[in-house]
């Protein structure tokens, strides 16, 4: 079946402009995550959505970053007034359900191909 898709694959923007990144999760997956990967670095958690619950925004680096998820499916990550340090690959992942919570296992996360953002 179709995996997680993201668009655009590449985005070049000028400092100070706003950008929107889109993520289409795997159909039926209720949990959706956004991560950021800077060059040569690991993945940095940004935000998490689970069903109709309030999102966990604890990883967002500043108030210039926001995300929404419409109808429990597609998600958009918006970065306002972009800065050069925002340049990175933004990865979206989805999973069948939420994380471990009270159990010991965590649902597998399936990643999209990412959006490479370059801020000039």
């Amino acid at each position: 079946g179709a995996g997680v898709s993201q668009s655009p694959s590449n985005k070049v923007t000028e400092k100070g402009k706003d950008v929107e990144l889109r993520c289409d999760p795997i159909s039926g997956h209720t949990a959706l995550y956004w991560y950021r990967q800077s060059l040569g670095q690991g993945l940095e958690f940004l935000i998490y959505f689970q069903g109709n619950s309030a999102p966990d925004k604890s990883g967002l680096p500043s108030d210039r970053f926001s995300a929404e998820r419409t109808g429990g499916s597609v998600s958009t990550l918006t970065i306002q007034r972009t800065q050069q340090e925002d340049s990175a690959v933004y990865l979206c992942a989805s999973s069948l359900d939420r994380g471990s919570g009270g159990s010991t296992s965590t649902d597998t996360q399936y990643f999209g191909p990412g959006t490479r953002l370059t801020v000039l």
């Binding site: 993945l43 689970q50 939420r98 471990s100 009270g102």
Partner: protein, 110 residues
């Protein structure tokens, strides 16, 4: 907060040599996951370990979870050029998203 550290950061081996990457958490983990990211690609799930002392094998890959559930390792026997990539370990971050280590980049030369 919870920190997940991986060593080494880079490893260059000749094809046929073995490779091991180590993952250490500052806190006890309920589980640990391993992902592989090929150059230019996205992370792909390899395995999840849940039990203390658990050992799992996938062909030439052997994954271990420490007794204290604070460390893990991935060992590749007789590396092949197809093993090239960055290997990440990740632990649950408050039970939801994952806290990734910085990864170990493996280069295999024929």
């Amino acid at each position: 907060g919870q920190q997940v550290m991986q060593i080494p950061q880079y490893q260059h081996v000749q094809e046929g040599e073995d490779f091991t990457t180590y993952c250490n958490s500052s806190t006890t983990l309920s589980n640990i996951q391993w992902y592989k990211q090929r150059p230019g690609g996205h992370p792909v799930f390899l395995i999840q370990l849940v039990k203390s002392g658990e050992v799992k094998k996938q062909k030439r890959l052997t994954f271990q979870f420490g007794e204290a559930k604070k460390n893990s390792s991935l060992h590749i026997t007789a590396t092949q050029t197809t093993d090239v990539g960055t290997y990440f370990c990740a632990g649950p971050l408050g039970g939801y998203a994952l806290n990734f280590g910085k990864g170990t980049s493996l280069l295999v030369t024929p």
